[in-house]
Each structure stands twice: as C-alpha cells, then as structure tokens.
C-alpha cells in the first residue's frame, strides 16, 4: 500500500525532504520516474492516475514503497505534524510487493534516491 496525502494538508513541506524515494511532490509540480517527466494528466506506468494534485503535496504511488527498504515506518507520516499522510486504500500492496517495487525502482531509477 502506498501512502497518500489528504486534503487536510497545510502545505508545510515537512514530508517532501524525508522521502527516500523522492515520491513526494509539491502541488502543481510535475513528477519524474526513470528520467521521464509526467504532468497532471499523464497516468503513471502502473496506470495510476488519481494522485496528482494542484493544491497539495502529493505522493506518486509508483514511487512510494512506504519506506520499505529504507526505514521501519513511513517517514512522511512520522514527520507530518497534522497527520495527513495515510495508507492509500486505492493502492494496496503487500510487504512482498513493496520489496519487489524497491528492487524494480533500484533497477530503473537509482537517480531518485537521496544522498
């Protein structure tokens, strides 16, 4: 399951630098994966197309691993002062699937990783 940011977000930006996968983007911004840039109407490679936001920080489900492979808990949720980073019921994945996602992302997009 990836994490999503609800419309309670106050746009403080605390979450964005904490994401090890660079899966979090400011509202209105384009996002990228494996060197390809995506805009507001572009579906993700998985087909997901319901996550982009013009107004609030948003999380790209194709890039979110719930911090599996990096941390014990999702870092966005841990640092969010207003509790708006929640498990996304529309993008449910098991731990095993998330581990495979990490492997896939490491193959196609090491540039996403933070130093």
């Amino acid at each position: 399951m990836s994490i999503y940011i609800t419309t309670d977000c106050i746009n403080c930006g605390a979450c964005e630098p904490e994401c090890p996968n660079t899966a979090i983007y400011e509202g209105g911004a384009n996002w990228s994966l494996a060197g390809v840039a995506y805009g507001p109407t572009d579906p993700a490679p998985s087909g997901a197309n319901d996550f982009w936001s013009a107004d609030y920080f948003y999380i790209v489900p194709d890039k979110c691993t719930e911090c599996v492979g990096f941390h014990d808990e999702p870092q966005c949720a841990a640092v969010c002062p207003v509790d708006v980073c929640l498990p996304d019921p529309n993008h449910v994945e098991s731990k095993e699937e998330l581990e495979l996602k990490v492997e896939y992302l490491n193959l196609v997009d090491t540039s996403r990783l933070r130093n």
């Binding site: 609800t6 419309t7 309670d8 106050i10 403080c12 605390a14 640092v79 002062p81 207003v82 509790d83």
Partner: protein
C-alpha cells in the same frame, strides 16, 4: 530557545491569527519532544491548522483538523502547561460542529465564525518538569 519560550511564541502567534507561523513554531517542540505531552502540542497544531483551513476556504480540512485537535486535547486535564484547555475545547467544539453542519449541507463556511484564542498562564514548573522528563527520554 527553551520549550517554554518557543511555546509562548506559538501561543502569541495563535492568538494573533498567525496560524501557519504558529504551526511552524510548535512543530519545533513536537518534533523534539517525547513522552506524554507530545500529543498535547500536536493538538494545538491541529487547532491552528483547522483555523488556517477556514481562512483558506478548505471546509473539509477545517472540520477534520479541528476534530483531531479536540480528540487529542481532551485527553489532558485543564490547565495543561498553562493552557486553559477547558475554555479552548469549549470554543473549538461548537466551532467544529458549526463547520460540520455546513459541510453536510454543502454550504460554505459561515461568515460569522468566532476564531478562538488560547488563554494562557505561564507555568514555569510545568515546563521545567517537561524539560526534565524529555531529557530522561533522550
């Protein structure tokens, strides 16, 4: 800056309607603190966020954040760390109910809302105990 000084800055910002700044200030304490008062500080942050959402015209966000504030703050006795929680909850609860009714009816936020302020009496002993307890957690 001590927790107390930072907190008092945040209270001043809250009472001056500087809700985003208040959230920013109190977030410093919330991030640094461990132990039982952590949810108290987050409760005040939720209240500031709820009022910020009203100003920004985000009715669902205001209802949600004020609800989270009430849920967290009602777990503490009043006063807590100098904050008159009884009064704050007495202000936040009907405000949330009013906004919730507007949300259910698909109406905009009412224009006659009264934004609460925080009644605060300095509590140096409470903050000394808080700092000592936090040192033990580290």
């Amino acid at each position: 800056m001590s927790f107390r000084d930072t907190f008092e800055s945040g209270i001043t910002e809250f009472n001056e309607g500087e809700y985003f700044a208040c959230h920013d200030t109190l977030e410093e304490i919330w991030r640094a603190i461990r132990g039982e008062s952590r949810r108290f500080f987050q409760g005040i942050i939720h209240a500031a966020a709820g009022l910020l959402h009203i100003e920004r015209g985000n009715l669902p966000g205001s209802v949600s954040q004020l609800g989270k504030a009430i849920d967290k703050l009602r777990d503490y006795p009043s006063p807590h760390l100098g904050v008159d929680l009884e009064r704050l909850l007495a202000d936040l609860t009907p405000l949330r109910e009013k906004l919730g009714r507007a949300l259910e009816q698909g109406a905009p936020a009412p224009s006659d809302l009264r934004f609460p302020t925080i009644s605060y009496t300095p509590d140096p002993l409470g903050f000394s105990a808080l700092e000592a307890a936090n040192d033990e957690h580290e």
